[in-house]
Symmetry: C2
Subunit: 279 residues, 2 copies
């Protein structure tokens, strides 16, 4: 449960840290970023988990996501994990959308991935324990959000664990991986060819199968080149409508899939979580 | 005067562009970032020039500086040039503090640098012409700021051209390059061994020699590892005090030299410029 602090930066009155620890879930060293707002100096703070998209490490959103100003003002701790195990002994693929940088937040059951690719257990079970053992987080006040593959992670983790989280949002999430090329490539590789096993890792399928979350904020750029083929927010809109889930889906004209999009709407997402995580 | 747009991102209701053009000052292709706030769609806007520090291109502050939210709210165009000419035919040095990425905002007179390293003319003369020919900038309302070597650039350019700028600020600037190792290495290489020729490129010396600017904002981290040897803000404080220049020097406990420092105080700097550039 011990972490080593790799770097430490003063920022917006708080501290942006990068921490590393040995993970029993993945069997590797794992690195995450954690922002502690100034309020964390005087007691536990709510925590929001930010899950990143394909190819990203903890560093991309830490450097480009522009979450610190709003998080410092709201008194939120923001934790940004890596998107997969990494390293020389870890299986990989030449493609950007499989292997290292592309964990898809599942526990792999298939060779060669099953050895280390256990991001579901890492994010759902181990990382909260590690963070709680080392930082002043109030685990009764948790939110989760993410981008693209990380939006898929946030949606599915929250839908499977609705009592753990008070707030949920996503930027350009993969809402139905079973129905799009990214998921139709990754899921067979990681968890096998049977689509019935994919449904616990697919937000739309989870909702169809009865999972619920009170309300969800999603921002989606209309100029996102992945919109029509990979993201398909209309599938989430239909599932939420049928299930009575309060989805706020904002289509944003002109915005693409980049961190310029994420950083633009980051203050709104931090505010969304802050309101629902207030004491 | 034509520019080619290399990339274009919607951000904070405006547009973050990267542009490239052929520079007659440097004899190379030069790349700069320019943020156009939403107000630029309906008419000319004030422009603030941000000069970056050692090793940086236009991209570092564009990705990590977190200036867009405040600039969009204030209606400021922000231009972020490169820190030197670059490319295969351009002289370079293995050190990070000489050659490509380390132009020091001077016009070099010494071999091998004199051929391309003409960043003073580029920033003072050519780039404003290029920007004005292609973007809706109001050149009657200009501000300038920068970080470290770019803070040196901002201070010296504004002190030599006080009528061009209404506002001036810096993050952790090199205030007296003639008196510190970075300048004592770069100035002989670029403009020769005679310290008398360095004074036009040294903010403290310029003030001692009579240059004036009405008021200056400087933020400086107290945990900045370059503070004692390279930055020496006390020299600027003394020169401004002697000259009657209104210097707001804010020593920031715990902050280092990084973009986490810059991005923390960026909103204050944008606000400083916005107030002085209001119509």
């Amino acid at each position: 449960m011990t972490v080593s602090i790799l770097s430490r930066f003063a920022a917006h009155g708080g501290r942006q840290l990068v921490a590393r620890h040995t993970s029993r879930a993945t069997g590797t060293e794992m690195t995450f970023a954690i922002f502690l707002p100034p309020q964390a100096d005087s007691g536990p703070c709510p925590v929001v988990w930010y899950l990143s998209g394909l190819t990203c490490t903890h560093a991309n959103v830490m450097e480009k996501g522009e979450y610190r100003k709003a998080a410092a003002e709201a008194g939120l701790i923001v934790v940004c994990p890596d998107t997969s195990p990494r390293g020389e002994g870890v299986a990989d693929d030449e493609a950007y959308d499989l292997g290292q940088g592309a964990g898809f937040y599942v526990d792999a059951t298939q060779k060669p991935w099953a050895t280390h690719f256990r991001m579901k257990t890492y994010i759902e079970v181990e990382l909260p324990e590690v963070v709680a053992a080392n930082f002043p987080v109030d685990l009764d006040r948790q939110g989760i959000f993410g981008h693209s593959m990380g939006g898929h992670g946030a949606l599915t983790i929250a839908l499977r664990n609705p009592s753990r989280f008070r707030s949920l949002s996503a930027f350009a999430p993969i809402v139905a991986p079973s129905q799009v090329p990214w998921g139709q490539k990754a899921f067979p590789a990681y968890i096998g060819p049977d689509p019935a096993k994919w449904r616990r890792h697919d937000a739309v399928a989870l909702i169809e199968d009865g999972a619920r979350f009170p309300e969800i904020l999603v921002d989606q750029g209309e100029a996102d080149t992945f919109l029509a083929d990979q993201l398909k927010p209309e599938l989430l809109a239909r599932a939420c409508s049928d299930a009575g889930i309060g989805l706020t889906l904002r289509m944003q004209p002109g915005y693409d899939h980049s961190y310029y999009f994420i950083s633009t709407f980051m203050p709104d997402h931090i505010a969304w979580h802050a309101r629902r995580l207030a004491a």
